[in-house]
Symmetry: none
Subunit: 204 residues, 4 copies
């Protein structure tokens, strides 16, 4: 990681954020120390407090920023007036694309919720619920117009989100699948399932 030793000005805050992201992603919020973080930034532990109120704020900033960006972007990515199936495909493509380019943020936002203090926790959970709501709405409209099969749109949404977010835990940009391939793979799985439809059973 870049070491901006003795860094000055507003760059330091950015360096702290970047270093915190990597460190928390790799070791977890509780497991990292501010000494390690300061080392990674190239300053003294105490100097962190010129930019941050306390350790908790570092985590909250990271998670909160991530969630607001995610929300802002999903609303642009999913066309408001399109049919549910189109929206669903857009959502899948957006979610997979966004998540594999921000694996750290996503992972932290999911796994370190527990480490947020009550107030912060509530704020983040609220944002998360809004994001989940986007998908739930799509499924609900699809169920209503008969294009999607979702007896329980909420549970189906959770299932889809779990599946897609899980990609983060094994995906490597250098791996053998491109982002597009991943999107297609998961879109097919979600839309059509894994069973090969027996043509005979479908014959007239």
């Amino acid at each position: 990681m870049a070491r901006t030793a003795g860094s000055h000005g507003p760059k330091t805050m950015e360096a702290i954020r970047k270093a915190a992201l990597t460190l928390i992603y790799r070791k977890g919020y509780e497991a990292i120390t501010l000494r390690q973080l300061a080392d990674a930034v190239g300053i003294q532990p105490g100097s962190l407090y010129n930019h941050v109120r306390n350790k908790q704020d570092i985590l909250f900033d990271l998670v909160h920023d991530h969630m607001t960006t995610l929300l802002a972007e999903v609303e642009q990515a999913v066309p408001a007036e399109a049919p549910p199936l189109v929206q669903l495909e857009a959502f899948i493509a957006f979610h997979v694309g966004y998540h594999i380019t921000r694996r750290e943020q996503v992972f932290i936002a999911n796994s370190e919720l527990r480490s947020l203090e009550p107030g912060n926790h509530a704020a983040v959970v609220a944002l998360r619920k809004r994001y989940e709501g986007v998908l739930i709405d799509v499924l609900r409209r699809g169920a209503a117009d008969g294009s999607l099969r979702a007896d329980d749109p909420t549970i189906a949404a959770y299932a889809i989100l779990s599946m897609l977010t899980g990609i983060c835990s094994w995906y490597q940009p250098s791996g053998r699948k491109s982002a597009d391939q991943l999107v297609n793979l998961h879109r097919d799985l979600i839309l059509r399932g894994i069973v090969v439809q027996d043509p005979a059973s479908l014959a007239c």
Copy 2:
């Protein structure tokens, strides 16, 4: 939580395990202290060391026990000689059923891998790979005999496992869905997808 204050004999070890399970599930391994654990058990922190070598061992025991049980049971639950589709359905039913009755173990085994020391980490990851291997094998055989559509059985297996394991993070035994309903819901989603197949498009 049951507080076995001043517990004696071999019960103490069991009480430690139970308390550790609950505490780690709720707060995370790094976040709990042995003092909290001792409190929950009803003994002094120092007394823990009559039963356990150190904090790490508590976590490893929990995770390792869980993984070996999981493996032993999945092999009994999935019929060895059945066709892949039948095996897949058996796997889904087993996985969902097992996971919702052991939410804490599952959650810990997934989220606290990071907190395991290298040796322990490797041991658990190996067990996990064997468990994933069961599903991957099923998908692979299904792809081979044309009954399942899985271009990439590994990724499909990860996707399915992520989806199913995600249930743990929101499931409440007192909720509105029974275990059976959950199994059906997820089986349908995995096998047939979410899109309603247009009969017209399938007509000859």
Copy 3:
């Protein structure tokens, strides 16, 4: 100061109290560090927390103990049924005697009130008011029966208490005045004042 290195058992708490008394008396509560205190006791700083909840508690214990003892003893020292003048003399003798043998406690209880957290502060101030009340009552009764001249018993009591407590700030047990001499000196000053009454002016 005695250094009970590696001290064990209930003696440690006593050693902490004694060392804290001396250190706080000499440097002030805010100025001392727990490292210094631990050094004086002969243990590690962290070990203090086996006996004490935090730094504030050390101060509060000291002050609170002092005030309760003071109150208990003053009630025994001042005869309940005696005439006010006798009571006043008893109070002076008691106060001077008690204070010069416990200079540290007295000084701390007066000068470190500011360092007490609100709750603790209130508790100590309440005790202090009760002690002051003893003297105020004596003066009030003396004013009532005409034996003492105290237009404002409260202010007079404060004046007397300030004068007597001030002794602590310069008294040395090895000094040239005995405790008895001090008592007499101050009793005379309080009772008769400093002016030599001109016999002529009193003649009939």
Copy 4:
């Protein structure tokens, strides 16, 4: 408290002094931080160093200024050639008047001596001794000419000073006693004591 936000020019130094006086009076020298002081002044902590060499100097300035002013004024207030009794009355009036109008300075000068570094401490104690010397001299001369009863003029002086200075710790300008009343009350106490002289015992 007045907040001279972003103050400029020579006013800043004055603002620092005023804020320091109030803060140290309320919380004590060791307990305040330069951040708090800077806040109160309306500047950044680093900016303090454009006006002050360090924290210690702030305290020393305050105490030293106070002591020199006190000394200068007491010499004007106590008539050099008057009889001891008249001088004593003048001293009492001056001391009470001066102290109740500068409660903060007086309190700090008495309670924060401990926080002065050796050199500064010595300087202030020397000034203090000179001030005490004024009263001691009066008493000594009174004892010499038979007008005052002071076996030990030093101790008597300490006693009187303690009594008078104690006023600062409870006096409120808005209270029920005027400054003049306070002076009279304490002068009577010091000169004539608290006992009502039994006329009978004085009769010829």
